[in-house]
């Protein structure tokens, strides 16, 4: 008698598709996953319909890996549906975990975004002033577009989430370990982020090159300097968020001679990655004079976008009461 294999599902919401690639990047190890579990829903790769999921008994999927942030009513509905059908709902990738890059849209109102896209963008040609419209009745019945909500949310702001797999996109090692952990007998504590609970510097190949003290008169953007491939990037004035970012990716960006942008979010002891990164970066400024400090800070053109690149929707301020 063969025991039924556990069922797993993958789904995407507001995302770029990179997380789907990340699943494929698991490469031959995907076979371990396939051997251990049945994939019952994966719209990007396999032809399943929403109605197939609806027909499954509640809680029958062991784990759903959902990537992408939540912006539209459709995404919210699918998140709810998969929540019901799954034992573990896993926020997969930065967007689902923290809101991600799409979450930066929260700096603007819904109206201003539609305005830009349908009227103002230089590439927009819209002489008839067409806009996403009201419900339309035709021979198929009433057709509606999903509602484009006022804010981007992380998955746990919409439904209860059991685990988080961080990264933009999550690195194959983390993905494989996460999947196999959930299939194993001892699931981690609910709410865990399935990656090491320490900051990236731990595994950074340039850790030893970091000086004891850094004092900067200006911050640099990667295109502005010839980046030394061996030296700590912060010491070169680049805004590397590694010290404030969870480890687990094995410092892939630094390997590629680019600074960490913080996609894995903060380690567990930190409430707000952006605030902590800001605090640490400010401490490197080599001045005690307010106007000189401002001059040095002017070399960071978009601080909120820099420090909250992946985590704006999950930030404290975004969750302010009554907003």
């Amino acid at each position: 008698m063969t025991r039924e294999k556990p069922k797993i599902a993958f789904y995407w919401c507001a995302s770029c598709g990179g997380c789907e690639e990340a699943v494929v990047d698991v490469a031959e190890q995907i076979l371990d996953v396939v051997a251990a579990a049945d994939i019952v829903f994966w719209p990007v790769a396999l032809d399943f319909k929403r109605s197939d999921v609806e027909q499954m008994p509640d809680g029958s999927i062991l784990a759903t890996f959902l990537n992408g942030a939540i912006r539209t009513s459709e995404q919210e509905e699918m998140a709810g549906l998969l929540r019901r059908k799954s034992k573990y709902l896993v926020a997969f990738g930065s967007c689902s975990h923290l809101g991600g890059i799409p979450g930066l849209a929260n700096f603007f109102t819904r109206e201003s975004i539609l305005q830009a896209v349908y009227f103002d963008a230089p590439t927009t040609e819209n002489p008839d002033r067409v806009m996403p419209g009201l419900p339309l009745n035709d021979r198929h019945g009433e057709l509606t577009l999903p509602y484009f909500s006022d804010r981007v949310r992380s998955l746990d702001q919409v439904v209860e989430v059991d685990y988080y797999v961080p990264g933009c996109p999550p690195q194959p090692k983390i993905v494989t370990r996460a999947v196999l952990t959930l299939l194993g007998e001892h699931p981690p504590t609910k709410g865990s982020v399935l990656a090491p609970d320490e900051a990236l510097c731990t595994e950074c190949p340039r850790k030893d090159s970091k000086p004891d003290k850094i004092a900067l008169k200006a911050f640099r953007r990667p295109q502005e300097i010839q980046i030394d491939e061996t030296q700590c990037l912060l010491a070169q004035g680049l805004l590397c968020l590694g010290p404030a970012t969870r480890a687990g990716c094995e410092a892939r960006c630094v390997e590629g001679n680019m600074p960490c942008t913080g996609c894995c979010g903060a380690p567990g002891r930190v409430r707000e990655q952006g605030a902590k990164a800001l605090s640490a970066i400010a401490s490197l400024i080599d001045s005690q004079d307010e106007s000189e400090i401002d001059q040095i800070l002017a070399t960071i053109p978009d601080p909120a976008g820099t420090f909250y690149r992946y985590s704006l929707p999950a930030s404290l301020i975004h969750n302010k009461r009554g907003v």
Binding site: F108, F148, A275, I281, L316
Partner: protein, 170 residues
């Protein structure tokens, strides 16, 4: 009165009540907290809107605390530390200053007006300055009204200005 909350009471009368700003203060022990104590012993009177949290040094104030305060309903945050050069711990106030200057820009991007986040150097001897600063901040925040988190108006510079109808996509 921009921040007036109008409500209709039981007898049908419209009453206008001004929402009082709530301010969280983070004061360093050696200068500003002492200055506030001095204001007390000198019986100086000032607005009751600030609730003070004592830290050993303004350098201890983590930007997370400021954001947490705004997230939990503060309309303003006031940081008080020793004057430059006077830090009880030599350098803490400079670290506070660097952080505050960066945080201020982030807060502005979050739609938090600059009047709502204030860093003031108040020495242990400046009891009256506690009054001046608090009264001034309270007055400014009364004018601003409750924290709204205004978001950026336009994504495209020099856009048409044509307004998107509210009901779109409903």
């Amino acid at each position: 009165m921009p921040n007036a909350i109008e409500s209709v009471s039981g007898n049908g009368q419209v009453s206008t009540e001004v929402a009082e700003p709530r301010i969280v203060g983070f004061f360093c022990t050696w200068c500003t907290y002492l200055a506030a104590d001095l204001a007390g012993t000198s019986r100086i009177k000032y607005a009751p809107n600030v609730r003070v949290i004592r830290v050993m040094c303004s350098g201890r104030i983590d930007p997370q605390f400021v954001l947490d305060a705004f997230a939990h309903g503060a309309d303003g945050v006031l940081i008080g530390g020793c004057h430059p050069g006077d830090c009880h711990y030599q350098q803490g106030n400079y670290n506070c200053l660097r952080r505050a200057r960066l945080l201020k820009r982030v807060l502005e991007q979050f739609g938090i007006e600059e009047e709502r986040f204030r860093l003031e150097w108040i020495s242990a001897a400046e009891g009256d300055r506690v009054r001046v600063v608090i009264d001034d901040m309270v007055e400014k925040l009364r004018k601003l009204g409750p924290l709204q988190l205004k978001r950026g108006p336009a994504l495209v510079r020099g856009g048409s200005g044509e307004q998107v109808p509210q009901e779109v996509g409903v």
